[in-house]
């Protein structure tokens, strides 16, 4: 009887407290952020390194967790903002859920003929691995933005679309999510960069377009055109 009560109490406790599924990644993530912060000469460089590791992690997550067939079933044959928005709502949410443990709020907006702007915001109050206290200037959302960038670029690869699409992600200024784009490579890189800066003037402040290009090539073997 006492064992049953104990089990019930544990289940009850789980509803209100983070479980080991959150605690262990949280401790490990804290250790990683702490290590990077200490080794980096400035918070900006620490954020850039968090982003870089994020790109790598996101790529692995996408490879291991998604099936190319599932992705393909919702992927539009050509650039269609509405169908792409649906894709983001399904797979973007699923990816976010798998990584963070909760669903995000998603908003999309067609910016140019072939550029879709996307914002993902966390639902406040949800526990997750990245909810940690950090030194001033360190922003854990760079890890998540990097992870999303790596995951999206890898998804394009799995869909056989890496030569046709681009995607970059950065933290929201409000500190509760990330923003980025899906764009056809037919669009000039400078025009895409302009859209990013118009949406958030600091979009490329810490992790530049060139940084994204470098990390994609270094970690994923993927070429992103440079700005002219």
């Amino acid at each position: 009887m006492s064992a049953e009560i104990a089990r019930f109490l544990l289940r009850f406790q789980k509803m209100f407290q983070p479980t080991v599924h959150v605690l262990v990644p949280q401790v490990l993530f804290t250790y990683m952020v702490s290590d990077i912060s200490q080794k980096s000469p400035s918070p900006s460089l620490a954020n850039k390194e968090l982003f870089r590791i994020g790109v790598w992690s996101g790529s692995i997550a996408m490879l291991k967790l998604a099936k190319p067939g599932d992705l393909a079933s919702f992927w539009p044959k050509s650039f269609d903002a509405e169908k792409l928005s649906n894709f983001v709502r399904i797979f973007g949410s699923a990816a976010w859920y798998l990584i963070t443990g909760h669903l995000p709020k998603i908003s999309t907006e067609k910016k140019l003929e072939k550029v879709l702007w996307i914002e993902l915001r966390e639902i406040s109050g949800k526990e997750s691995f990245y909810k940690i206290e950090v030194p001033e200037g360190i922003n854990v959302w760079f890890f998540l933005a990097g992870a999303y960038e790596g995951a999206t670029l890898t998804a394009f690869r799995m869909l056989g679309e890496e030569e046709n699409y681009l995607s970059m992600w950065r933290p929201l200024e409000s500190g509760d999510g990330i923003e980025g784009y899906y764009a056809s490579r037919e669009i000039n890189a400078n025009d895409i960069a302009r859209i990013c800066i118009n949406s958030n003037v600091d979009f490329f402040n810490i992790v530049s377009w060139e940084d994204s290009s470098l990390f994609a090539e270094q970690l994923l073997g993927l070429k992103i055109p440079l700005l002219k």
Partner: protein
């Protein structure tokens, strides 16, 4: 005591003594066969080059008279691509022991397997100057000549062997691709993809495969992504790089 100040060249047969003399003093009519005991070449200014035979019996004979040699410069010439044991023989060191200036000259530094670092260490232990040269390419010849004639050694002549670049993994973590138990038909893969798949043994990481194939981390990751998507790989195991 000999009338001339001597520049003595000693060392094992085949080390390149004659070639080195010719490289340093092109005006001399150098003979390339081993001398019976030693052979002299006259230089201007009361200097002479003396090439000593490398044979043990020849050196034993010479040692009886060597005290009377007025050795200004003593050079122990060795083939740097050969094992150090032959160089360390005391008889060669004995020939140049009384020289005012003495040096170990590692010839053939351009050849594969050149043991420059070991020879330099040996020279340091024996109190010898050290020069790495190649009579074939001319490396180090001018510096050695300058030291012989003026005693100045301004330029470090040891051509430091450049180790092959080892690509650094882009992150401290790496991934080990694990091949699926049941893989699809391999005929769909390119030669490059097949090569990478064959290197996936469940232990080798992406960076190790990159090093083995001479490709970058990114290039291998791209292939691994494709192999994973197509079902040739089962999983990617994280590994400390």
């Amino acid at each position: 005591m000999s009338l001339y100040k001597l520049i003595v060249f000693t060392g094992p047969k085949g080390a390149g003594k004659s070639s080195l003399i010719k490289s340093l003093f092109p005006e001399l009519d150098v003979r390339f066969e081993e001398p019976s005991y030693y052979r002299d070449y006259m230089l201007a200014g009361g200097l002479a080059v003396r090439e000593v035979a490398g044979r043990r019996d020849a050196i034993e004979v010479i040692m009886a008279a060597i005290a009377k040699w007025n050795i200004n410069v003593g050079l122990l010439v060795v083939d740097s691509s050969r094992p150090l044991e032959g160089v360390a023989e005391p008889r060669f060191l004995a020939v140049i022991e009384r020289a005012e200036k003495k040096a170990l000259v590692a010839n053939k530094v351009d050849e594969q397997g050149s043991q420059v670092a070991e020879l330099e260490k040996f020279a340091l232990e024996k109190g010898l100057e050290f020069f790495g040269v190649s009579t074939k390419t001319g490396v180090g010849i001018e510096e050695l000549k300058k030291w012989i004639t003026t005693g100045e050694k301004t330029v470090k002549t040891i051509p430091t062997p450049v180790p092959p670049p080892v690509p650094k993994p882009p992150l401290p973590i790496d991934l080990v691709p694990v091949v699926a138990k049941k893989t699809p038909d391999k005929s769909r893969l390119t030669q490059e993809e097949l090569e990478v798949l064959e290197l996936c043994d469940g232990k080798r990481s992406i960076n190790e495969i990159a090093m083995k194939t001479g490709k970058s981390y990114g290039e291998i990751k791209k292939i691994v992504d494709k192999l994973m998507s197509l079902g040739y790989l089962e999983t990617l195991k994280p590994k400390i790089a």
